[in-house]
Symmetry: C2
């Protein structure tokens, strides 16, 4: 792909935008989920998928039987968007109210990772990304499972990041209004782990769960 | 739009899928954010946007100066995806591990809501959706602010929902493995509200914040 094919000019609120690779990595590394957009038979589709980062690539996986996964694997243009919603920004007017967020829009074409060692390493990276420490506890995948799973890699090359943080910014003429103004922080948090009903009595919860 | 133009057949894991309108509404009503996919100049774009529901329509808004908002307003096909990530589903193998989630994929074309009363009502609905009770505290929008804001409406007609909940489902041959298995619940929670630095001393936090 010509990396400049996607039009990534930052038109709206360019002061919030960036093209910093490390910032893009931080946004991916903090995410479990991304939203992948493709265009298929005249219709846009946006699909939530697990994601992980491996060096300079964003990794996705899915069933080889999935139509959208096959479309991605065929190398059509895609957009992978990762969004963290960090808070509601409550100004004295609706117009100046906003959200705090960190967002990455990554443009490119996915590559199907077919080489067995690279595919294994990538699938392992996905497991470890979602729950660091987990991989060592899992049995290795069977050949049948591997054959049913497509690993896709999108280079972190053509992208924009957009970040808003901090308090509302009311115009001076609104600051004297009686409405409360400020930020309600939002975050995704993990609750207590729930044992599977078929878990053998006495199976200990691993340390990586307690730290999570 | 021909409501059957989008191919919404549930191919993958159809047992998780549905077309129930009330389910779609519940997914939207619990969301602050959606991801909107469009196809523009040969490239898919996926944009995070605030959303709300008004009866049988999903509402979006944005700057009239935004290229993607104008593209939506022009009535091109779009896909609005709303995803709630509810947990990590940790099976004894990577292959059977999964996520608990609720997802809506809504297909259609946005309509620009231009009629002043309908636009005001829709923008109010967005404010109230994001923080119920907030609207009464805000000054009304100015004409200039209204003119700068596009309200878009997408009918909740052509969609699929997909939901996974509950524990991992390992095959019998894996249940005896020593790995811990179960679910780590995930949820988005609000932290304590943070006063804006320019908030007048003594401004009380409204009750709707305490309940949030």
């Amino acid at each position: 792909m010509n990396p400049m094919q996607a039009d990534t000019r930052l038109r709206r609120l360019p002061e919030r935008g960036g093209r910093d690779f490390d910032e893009a990595c931080r946004i991916i590394d903090a995410a479990k989920l991304c939203h992948v957009g493709v265009h298929l038979d005249g219709q846009p589709y946006v699909l939530p998928m697990a994601c992980a980062r491996q060096g300079r690539d964003l990794l996705l996986h899915g069933s080889v039987a999935s139509r959208l996964v096959r479309h991605l694997a065929d190398g059509h243009p895609c957009c992978v968007t990762v969004t963290h919603l960090d808070g509601l920004v409550l100004a004295r007017s609706a117009f100046h109210s906003s959200m705090n967020y960190r967002c990455l829009m990554l443009f490119g074409r996915a590559r199907l990772v077919a080489e067995p060692a690279a595919r294994s390493a990538g699938l392992d990276a996905l497991v470890e990304h979602l729950l660091p420490g987990r991989l060592a506890d899992l049995r290795p995948p069977t050949r049948k499972e591997l054959n049913a799973t497509a690993l896709l890699s999108v280079p972190i090359e053509t992208f924009t990041t957009k970040v808003r943080s901090g308090p509302p910014e009311d115009p001076a003429s609104d600051v004297g209004l009686p409405a409360w103004a400020g930020v309600v922080p939002l975050a995704t948090v993990a609750g207590s782990a729930q044992d599977a009903p078929d878990l053998a009595t006495g199976t200990a919860r691993p340390a990586y769960l307690e730290d999570y």
